[in-house]
Structure formats: C-alpha cells, structure tokens
C-alpha cells in the first residue's frame, strides 16, 4: 500500500471514530510539521504552537478533505496558513528571533535531537540546523515560505504560486531574491567566526 493510500485509509478510519487511526496520522506528520515550524518560526516553542494549530485544523476539517489533492499537500497548505497567522499574531520579525550566541545555545537546549545517534554527530547536526535557522531568520516571511516550500517541501513554482495567490514569475523572483540574500548571509557567517 502506498503512503497516499495509507493516508486515505487512516483518514477514513479516523472519520469512522478510530482513535488509533487518528493517532497514526498524527505520528506520520508531526515530525514533518514540527521541522517545518522550526524552520519557519525559528524556535521550538513557536514550532510546537504551529504543530498544535495545524493538527487542530486538520482534525476539525478532516471531514472536508475530499482527496482531490494529496493529504500531505492539504496538511502543508493548512500549515502554511497557520504559520502566516501565528506570524501576524506574534508580529514575528527577523530581529525578534534570538541571534546572540548565548540565546541560541539556550534555544538549542529546547530543541530535541535524534536520540539514536552519537552525541558528536548530534551536536554537529544541531549546529547545522542552527545555522540554517539563523540564515532563514534573516528573510522576510514571504521569502522564507517560498524557500521552505521549494527546497524542503519540493513544491513546484506553480503550486507555490497557487498557495500564495501570486503569479509563477513572482514566486520565481521571490525564490531567487531569497537565495541571493541567503548567499550574503551565508558568506557573512563563514567570514565572521
């Protein structure tokens, strides 16, 4: 059974009142949503908030899912909209994301890592993730969302354009502009120890 079929089977079972199916559905997507939130929101607490809002949204609207699109696309569409809502609510700006070393270390304490890997590897992975988060944090949300959707969700520019209600060319321009900015940020990080 393919992942899409499995999703549909779990949805049908959850709608018929199976708590187990719902739990499986949550477990299948919670890591993806959490990491999505971590990259977009910049910290574990907001990523958890996003995850909660996404799953509540999925739960409340599960009966409306018609299967026209993939369930994962539908979930990430909800996640995209919830991220914008949370950002609007908290007036999250790039400057509000903690960037000092001390704060970042404190932040990393909150971010759980894989427990089945060696501690050294874990630290280096966390450092790399921290670097990605701090780079993305320099982008305005609209560009961050395009980078997230293109690079981490592997969506096409047409899908991104539909999701954000913009033209395909605007989506391409946003992605290119974001990459250029990330290049500058990355160079700054590598130049400044």
């Amino acid at each position: 059974m393919s992942l899409i079929d499995e999703d549909e089977a779990l949805i049908a079972a959850a709608l018929n009142g199976s708590a187990l199916a719902w739990e499986k559905l949550v477990r299948r997507y919670e890591s993806k949503i959490y990491n999505h939130g971590l990259r977009l929101m910049g910290n574990s607490s907001d990523a958890m908030d996003l995850m909660q809002e996404v799953f509540l949204g999925v739960y409340r609207n599960l009966h409306r899912f018609r299967g026209d699109a993939k369930f994962s696309s539908w979930v990430f569409r909800i996640a995209h909209n919830k991220a914008i809502d949370i950002n609007r609510r908290k007036r999250l700006t790039t400057t509000q994301i903690r960037t000092s070393d001390q704060e970042e270390l404190a932040f990393l304490d909150l971010v759980p890592g894989e427990t089945n890997i060696e501690p050294d590897n874990m630290v280096s992975e966390q450092q790399r993730n921290r670097q990605v988060i701090s780079m993305l944090a320099k982008l305005p949300l609209e560009q961050r969302l395009v980078v997230e959707l293109k690079m981490f969700q592997s969506q096409t520019f047409e899908e991104i354009a539909n999701l954000q209600d913009i033209s395909v060319n605007t989506a391409k321009t946003r992605f290119y502009t974001a990459l250029k900015k990330l290049k500058v940020v990355s160079e700054e990080i590598h130049v400044l120890p």
Binding site: E23, V26, E30, L38, L136, L182
Partner: protein, 226 residues
C-alpha cells in the same frame, strides 16, 4: 564584471520543467559568462548549506488522542437526537402548511375522532339555513338600529336649529342697540362741532366790524385836517 542577464538566467535555471531549448540557451550562456556562472555556483552552495538540514525528532503531540477521545465520548444517539431535534421546527411548519393547503378538518365528537379533507358536503343545507336565518336577524337588527339613529338625529337637528335661531335673534337686537347708540353719539358730536363753528364765525365777524370802525375813525380824522 556584471551581466545584465544574470537575474533572468538564474531565475530560469531554478525553474521547474525547463524546456530543452531554454536549458541549452542557459547552459551556453553560463559557459561564456563568468559572472553568471560564479553567481550560480555561490547560489548552489547556499542551497547545499540549507540542504544540510536534518529533521529533528518532534515532541509527540499528545493532545491528539485526548481531543479525539473527548469529542467521541458523546454518545452517537445523543448527537443524532439533537441532530433530529434541529429539524423539528421545519417539520412542524411543513405539517401546518399541508393542513392549511388541504383544508384538513379534525372533528372530535361522542362518536369518536374523525379527520376530513376539503369542505364537508353533508352539512351544507343546515349551514345554508342557519346562514339565511342569521342574515335575516342581522337585517332586522340593522333596520331597528337605523330607525333609532334617524329619530335621534331628527330631534337633535330641531334642537340645534332652535338654539341657532335664538342666538341669532339675540345677536341682531344687540347689534341694533349698538348702532342706535353710535348714531346718537355721532349726532351730539356734530351739534357740538357746529356750535363751535358758529362761535368762530361770529368772533371773526366781530373782529371785522371793529377793524372797519377803526378805519372809518381814521378816515374821518384825516378828512377835517385837509
């Protein structure tokens, strides 16, 4: 040295499903343009930095089961009962509309309970008789009432006419008295004016005589001297 095509070339480089012709053009430009190829290399490096992201284990969202159980604890029968009750007003309205449209009659008597649709033809003669009798009663009552009203109206009219005439006579007498008093007063005033006028005339005449006398005296006084 910058290149004016950099943005367009690199933007299209990252596009999805690029046509082979466009891809060839981009690649041939990148081969000859150092600026664009350097820029692309640094962007790909940036992408690779982002791709180093390793998914972190998410804290389990344990509220999912809690939420699901809480919402599914409500007995389904209770939900469906409430769901059905929501339709009750609509059903009641529909039934009332049917009753009105079909002219349904519910008759409860000693013989039992009966329901009939449309007008009942058996009772028509009795109803006709009762209707005629009722109309006759109503007509008589209306005639009597009209007679009483006419009588009362006539007597009221006579009283009103009498009162108006009395008031009119009284008013006319008062007016004549006032006119008479006014004329009398005017006559006395005219007599007084005439008397004053005659007195003035007499005074004037007297003055004239005196002047003539003085003139005559003066003339007679002058004549002997000559």
């Amino acid at each position: 040295m910058s290149c004016p095509k950099t943005q367009h070339i690199l933007q299209e480089y990252f596009a999805d499903n690029l046509a082979s012709l466009a891809k060839e053009k981009i690649e041939s430009h990148l081969l000859v343009c150092g600026h664009c190829s350097n820029e692309l290399e640094s962007l790909l490096l940036t992408q690779s930095t982002l791709n180093q992201w390793k998914n972190e284990r998410a804290p389990h969202w344990n509220r999912g089961m809690e939420l699901f159980r809480r919402e599914h604890q409500t007995p389904i029968s209770g939900f469906s009962l409430w769901h059905r009750l929501q339709w009750a007003p609509t059903i009641a309205c529909f039934v009332m509309m049917i009753v009105l449209l079909l002219n349904v009659n519910f008759v409860s008597s000693q013989e039992g309970f009966s329901v009939s649709f449309g007008s009942t033809s058996d009772d028509s003669p009795a109803i006709e008789e009762r209707l005629v009798a009722f109309q006759e009663e109503q007509r008589l009552a209306m005639d009597t009432l009209a007679g009483r009203i006419e009588d009362r109206q006539s007597s009221n009219n006579i009283e009103l006419l009498q009162t108006v005439l009395d008031q009119n006579q009284q008013t006319t007498a008062e007016n004549l008295n006032r006119i008479y008093a006014f004329f009398e007063q005017q006559r006395l005033r005219d007599l007084e004016d005439m008397r004053v006028g005659y007195q003035d005339l007499v005074d004037n005449d007297y003055e004239t005589i005196r002047s003539l006398q003085q003139l005559a005296q003066f003339v007679s006084f002058q004549s002997p001297e000559r």
